[in-house]
Amino acid sequence: MTRTPRARAAARSGVRDDPASAYDMTPSAEGVERRTLACIVDNEPGVLARVVGLFSARGYNIESLTVAEIDRNAHQSRITIVTSGTNHVLEQIEQHLLRLVPVARVIDVTQSGGIERELALVKVAGTGDKRVEALRISEIFRARVIDTTNESFIFEITGASEKIDQFIELMRPLGLVEVSRTGVLSIQRGKERVG
């Protein structure tokens, strides 16, 4: 068998000591980042199932997902998905989303510097100093009290996900009972309509 020296060297370097199947080549966790994608979709039956099914079928992560109709006349919905993966995976997610027939556009909110907001309802129960402290912290976070009893508050708080995470952590020792979050919403800065 004749072969150029260069090719032979390349062949040798390509062979590892522990030959493994192509199926075993799992991508490393290196370089995993979080990304927020907004999909503008035709609001037709099953469109959410298609998007969610794509993520489960191809083994991608969904950290949060919100969906609602944004234009009744045009039958359009906006789905904001927070996902994570390597750059390569994130690029694939975007392309596979675009392959779905009812998906009109995909916007990379993270990379295009869009605004992300989340709303949370946080129930905290307690009396005495802890109750006072909870109310004091809620003021710092500009949370609103939307329900109260003698022994509890329900706070409504909006902001970036990190801010909400932080608020929840601070409430934990003060009698955190229950949390409900919307997941991330997103929009582009500036006067242009990007969606």
Binding site: M1, T2, R3, T4, R6, A7, A10, A11, S13, G14, V15, R16, P19, A20, S21, A22, Y23, D24, M25, V41, D42, P45, G46, A49, R50, G53, A57, H88, E91, Q92, Q95, H96, L98, R99, V101, P102, V103, A104
Partner: protein, 601 residues
Amino acid sequence: MDGHAGMDAQEAMDAKGKASDAEILTGAEIVLRALADQGVDTIFGYPGGAVLPIYDAIYAQQRVRHILVRHEQGAGHMAEGYARSTGRCGVALATSGPGATNMVTPIADALMDSIPMVVITGQVPTHLIGSDAFQEADTVGITRACSKHNYLVKDVKDLARIIHEAFYVAMSGRPGPVVIDIPKNVQFAKGPYVGPATIEHRTYHPRTEPAERRIEEAVALMAKAERPVIYSGGGVINSGPAASEALRALAAATGFPVTSTLMGLGAFPASDPQWLGMLGMHGSYEANNAMHDCDVMVCVGARFDDRVTGRLDAFSPGSKKIHIDIDPSSINKNVRVDVPVVADCGKALGAMLKGWKKSARKTPDLAPWWGQIDQWRARKSFAYPRSATIIKPQYAIERLYALTRDRDVYVTTEVGQHQMWAAQFFHFDQPNRWMTSGGLGTMGYGLPAAIGVQAAHPGALVIDIAGDASVQMTMQEMSCAVQHELPVKIFILNNEWMGMVRQWQQLLHGERYSHSYSDSLPDFVKLAEAYGGHGIRCENPADLDGAILEMIDSPKPVLFDCRVEKAENCFPMIPSGAAHNEMILGKIMGDEISDAGKMLV
């Protein structure tokens, strides 16, 4: 919408006129009218409770021919065969519940191989959906993951639009199967009919024109190449005959060697001296080594499938890669490429040819590269030991090819060793002549696919190169072939084994032949006769030519029981997880499989 382009103003006005004072038809009538207006001449189906109104409408018209199958899977594969041999959209029809679930395999098959197909299924009436009614299944839920798109039609007013839209989606961009689920009450209800010209999809408009900059980058790379190779795939065939012409023209202009995937056979003529043969797991030694050692790879309409690439981290390590694909998600999916070209293959190849002719640069001399390729070719990797007493499966296909090459011949296959031998030893000079289940690897594909091909090409010779195990998976369609006088030739390489399973067990599982022997095989000759077809058996190489001619001359569907060498293995072979230059060439070359190789999966 594609329909607009080919229409003159008068036609477009007529179509619009139809929309304004629309005819009122029942849902079932709308289905048949829409099919006819889409140019569908043949559908493949099986009746049942939830599609009876549609069958009533079929009964009342002459424009669309219905081929009655024996199992819905057969209808799906027939529609695939029809589509692949004509370049048009295949259409299959099934009832709700089990009819739809039986159709799932061909739908998944068509998705993997990018075959345009519209599948119409009946559904229980809308008010019964979700009640676990008789023969109810969540068809759109089940087929969502294995179709390109699907629809549940809840209102007859949407039906005509959805059917036309389904054809558009199935045929546009990367083609694929589209499912339309129609509840029985919608089939009875009356609604307006609109023609195809008035339909435009809101969001789905795939890009087909290449970016000029990318074409320039590609041509610049190609102009400097010293060891180039063109790796073409099924996308070239899907794109239409013009793409195959463009591929041939580009190869002729550049002098580059051409290899192809299993799906792409026929796009480039196998008789051309620039042809390297198929690449991949059972591809030729020269094709795989050229892929490994090339410095510029032009991938056209192929998707770097694992059966093609072998081990990814050792795949063509020294090359710059150009990838033309209409589906952006295929680019950089498995293999990183240097020049991505998102476009229809035919248009991109045409643009590259134009760029190549304009380019003032002289191509480096390819003679040393061709010299290297000739050395690989001299290994004759498809060689096999001849026998005067036993029919070698490779010999059977060689003879089949030799005796049919001057005819108007179409070939389908099942899945396994016989499929690979067919790809290696049957040669194609034209696209749309070779139908095989590549991506999904569906045993039982070939017999019904052949029937679909024959329905589209009544005068042609249609051969299913089959294995004894695969062919039994859809054998009942012999009855369909006899009923509709579709004289397909089922050429069974009968080695009494699930050959590819046996081969893997021999090479990789310590010769433990667990459940791979086809015990209690039927007598295929008697079976053919039982169906009203023609049966032939051949066991002696000396009788083979005569038997093949008898098969060709028979006016009936034929089951040809070709008794071949039982223990023959399909070589050359790249075991999963090995690199292109680590091929096993088989015993004839004196190669042994290493212990490490046996550990591979």
